[in-house]
């Protein structure tokens, strides 16, 4: 187990290295010349373009650019945003707490609603409760976030005046205001996660409830609640853990549409604006951070698999 864990940690570095090069190459292949964007309305002036390219080393070969970037990174320097000239490390540190708070709140909402709803709907399969829960979940999946988001703003902020319509206040500045600004986006994102987790929990529970040991336990007269939570749910968790970790990773990578609607300055908006402005150092930094999160979450998933089912190989 320990050696397995160490081996897994050892895989992180090569993964990030290869991914960072991949993203670097992909950006160069993307149409849209960063120098043209930065030159703005002076884009027709070759002298301006040449100056920008020289300053940002865009006139050097790909490998030289990558090597330089990597070298700076080894010194703890992510480079600076070409658009606003703020160091990328600073940007990442500023956005991380925002995204982490929103992701955590959304995920808690998703799990607290999604998993119990899935269990209930499996236990009461083909009854009205099952239909209701399924209907709501599928509605949540089919409803675009912008629609739900704008509707909530119009209702809770404009009509009722209960919540601030958008923006973000850091948790440490004013916890109440912070929760007030993030509860609507967290709900919008959380319902999406809840729908996915609900559908997977339901399917897995249905499978687990039909396993022989559950039947045996029931036949032995074990209380139904114990059967459901102790025996069935535990064994139904593998796909739920898989999807849960992926959904959490996606939340941490930033939900651009929701962030945009609620003007939350998180990772999603950062990376999308950076891509549209061809602000490559920012893209590199965000992708690297997200990749680290995904690698860590997939490690977490494997650990959870083994906790759920100790017989799983530690591959």
């Amino acid at each position: 187990m320990i050696t397995w864990f160490i081996r897994r940690l050892g895989q992180i570095l090569p993964t990030l290295l290869i991914l960072s090069f991949g993203i670097f190459a992909l950006q160069q292949l993307m149409p849209g010349d960063p120098a043209l964007i930065l030159a703005g309305e002076d884009r027709g002036d070759p002298r301006v373009l040449a100056e920008i390219r020289a300053e940002l080393m865009l006139d050097r070969p790909l490998l030289a650019q990558y090597g330089h970037w990597l070298w700076r990174l080894l010194h703890g320097d992510f480079g600076f945003s070409w658009r606003i000239r703020v160091p990328v490390g600073e940007l990442l540190l500023a956005k991380l707490p925002v995204t982490a708070q929103l992701a955590a709140m959304s995920f808690v909402i998703g799990v607290v609603i999604g998993v119990p709803a899935g269990v209930l709907s499996a236990v009461w399969k083909d009854r009205p409760l099952d239909w209701l829960v399924n209907g709501i979940a599928l509605f949540g999946i089919s409803m675009p976030n912008f629609w739900l988001g704008i509707m909530m703003i119009l209702l809770f902020s404009v009509q009722l005046g209960w919540l601030p319509p958008s923006g973000y206040v850091p948790l440490w500045e004013d916890p109440w205001q912070s929760l007030a600004t993030t509860i609507m986006p967290a709900f919008v994102l959380g319902t999406g996660v809840a729908s996915v987790l609900m559908r997977h929990t339901r399917a897995a529970m249905l499978g687990a409830l039909e396993q022989d040991y559950v039947r045996t336990a029931r036949a032995k007269g074990v209380a139904e609640r114990v059967v459901i939570f102790r025996h069935a749910l535990r064994n139904a968790l593998i796909p739920v853990v898989t999807l849960g970790t992926i959904e959490f990773g996606r939340l941490m990578a930033g939900a651009v549409l929701t962030e945009q609607i609620f003007s939350i300055p998180g990772f999603g908006k950062l990376v999308v604006d950076a891509v549209f402005n061809r602000d490559y150092p920012v893209v590199q930094g965000v992708v690297l951070a997200t990749a680290l999160i995904f690698v860590a979450l997939s490690l977490l998933a494997d650990v959870l698999y083994m906790l759920i089912n100790p017989r799983l190989r530690t591959a």
Binding site: M30, P31, G32, D33, L36, I37, L38, A39, G40, E41, D42, R43, G44, D45, V48, E51, I52, E55, S81, R83, I84, R85, V86, L91, A94, F146, I150, I153, L154, S157, V158, G161, W162, P164, P165, S166, G167, Y168, D174, W176, Q177, A180, Q260, I261, F262, S263, P265, K269, L270, D273, F276, N277, R278
Partner: protein
């Protein structure tokens, strides 16, 4: 417990309501780029600059040039501009704003690597300090547009000491001589500025703090205004104007902008210019005659924008009044296509940046053009890709907006002159080049307007090098508690004179 939570929320609400009386919160539609007058290039950035960096000159609602940091100017000869400066002006760091600072700032615009101002003032050959309050600017040749450049970022004066210390990172903490000083910026979220006590015109500034909040979704921006979370929003969608008018706690301010929306046609930029559309002015004439700008404007923008055929908006004294869009004429369009000998339906591609209103406009044009025998193919692209395609000539037609300049030269030369940096379609006509050069040095308004009239007649009506479609409006909405806002065609929000009740 629940009552406690409710009480806490009410308290929080009360606290923010208290903040309302002190601060002005303005919603911007996108995040400004770097806040360095030399390196900045976005329009929203100029809105923030209006609070932190004063300029030598400003413009008023009639587009007249008025002094700001300068007190006056004289042309010693057509190549020498003498500017007298306002005495006793201080930068935010306490340094004096004097002739030396003006010389430093202009030279910085001219020499800093990656400067976006160089193109605007590259006729400058020397800046000389005559005395602490007088500067001489020498130009290589006479320029009718030069003074107007000093009403924008090229005319902003920065603190030499701060700029020298910060170098290229000056934009992280700009130090100028505006009514507010830069306090804080959270990328993609907000920019905060605080009133500068030593401002030269401190009496005109009453609001202690302005927070610029970036809210990209227009519905949400308006929702913030309606719910009282903002006092002012920039660029309201024409569709939302009716809703603002219905709300008696809101005020609307609409003014004509300086720029335009146009269609660039690839006439000589690479292989993709080799189409009937690129090679035959009759085909382009047919294309234009198939469009009904009035209907286009009505369908997409609720009829709020100004249909046009020229790059200079009607508010500008150099607008050519008689040069109007031709009415839609399908018969003539079809006849022209027949005359040109093209097989219909003629396929024409239009590159469209991915904003929803432009995409709708393209769809409306598509339907109009179909009736004349064109098959318009819409190619939506995100802006960065479309820009590169345009420069490389990888387009047939390109639906592009221009934010506009005070002087018409900024709206025409760079797009129409054969050596114009933004002439992506590579239109070239020696007579137009000659006239554009002549318009640059002609200082008499009436004679200059005549020259522009001749240019439009050749470049637009005869050669059909581009198709001008409409001038947008600056639509600003604000709380009724905010008074003193004056709409100026450049669309900026000047904090001088604003009051919050």
């Amino acid at each position: 417990m629940r009552r406690l939570i409710l009480a806490a929320m009410l308290l929080a609400g009360a606290a923010s309501a208290q903040g309302v009386t002190q601060n002005l919160r303005i919603g911007l539609r996108e995040d400004p780029d770097i806040m360095d007058p030399t390196l900045a290039r976005t329009f929203v950035g100029r809105i923030v600059f209006a609070a932190i960096c004063d300029k030598l000159f400003d413009i008023n609602e009639r587009l007249e040039i008025v002094p700001q940091l300068a007190t006056g100017h004289v042309w010693d000869d057509p190549r020498t501009l003498r500017i007298t400066l306002r005495p006793g002006v201080k930068f935010h760091d306490g340094e004096p704003m004097d002739a030396e600072a003006v010389r430093y700032s202009l030279n910085r615009h001219l020499t800093l690597q990656g400067s976006f101002r160089r193109g605007e003032i590259n006729g400058v050959t020397a800046v000389e300090v005559v005395d602490p309050l007088t500067v001489l600017i020498r130009l290589a040749e006479p320029s009718a547009a030069f003074l107007s450049q000093l009403t924008d970022r090229a005319g902003m004066v920065v603190s030499p000491r701060a700029a020298e210390a910060a170098g290229r990172n000056f934009g992280l903490r700009p130090i100028c001589a505006g009514p507010y000083r830069f306090t804080e910026r959270v990328a993609q979220d907000r920019i905060v500025v605080d009133r500068f006590a030593d401002y030269w015109n401190a009496a005109a500034v009453t609001i202690p703090r302005i927070t610029y909040q970036i809210i990209t979704d227009s519905t949400v921006r308006l929702a913030n205004l309606q719910s009282g979370a903002l006092e002012m929003v920039q660029s309201v969608d024409p569709d939302d104007v009716a809703a603002v008018r219905r709300n008696n706690r809101l005020r609307l301010s609409i003014s004509d902008e300086l720029g335009y929306q146009s269609l660039t046609i690839n006439i000589g930029n690479g292989a993709r210019a080799q189409t009937p559309m690129g090679q035959d002015a009759r085909v382009r004439a047919a294309f234009e005659l198939a469009l009904d700008r009035q209907v286009l404007n009505q369908v997409v923008y609720e009829g709020m924008f100004n249909p046009t055929a020229q790059p200079v908006p009607p508010t500008n004294p150099l607008h050519v009044p008689g040069f109007l869009p031709e009415p839609r004429n399908l018969d003539r369009a079809r006849a022209l296509l027949r005359e040109a000998g093209v097989r219909t339906p003629l396929a024409v591609e239009m590159t469209v940046p991915n904003s929803p209103d432009l995409r709708q406009a393209a769809e409306v044009m598509q339907a109009m053009l179909r009736e004349a025998g064109f098959e318009l193919r819409i190619n939506t692209m995100e802006f960065a890709s479309s820009l590169q395609a345009a420069v490389r000539g990888d387009f047939e037609t390109y639906l592009l907006a221009w934010s506009g300049r005070v002087d018409p030269d900024g709206n025409s030369y760079t797009f129409m002159h054969s050596r114009g940096p933004q002439n992506d379609g590579r239109y070239s006509n020696p007579e137009v080049d000659r006239l554009l050069d002549a318009a640059r040095i002609e200082t008499d308004t009436a004679r200059r307007r005549d020259i522009y009239g001749q240019i439009w007649a050749i470049a637009i009506r005869q050669d059909r090098s581009r198709i001008y479609l409409w001038h947008r409006k600056n639509i600003v909405a604000h709380s009724a508690r905010l008074t003193g806002f004056v709409a100026i065609p450049d669309g900026l929000i000047r904090p001088q004179g604003l009051r919050l009740q």
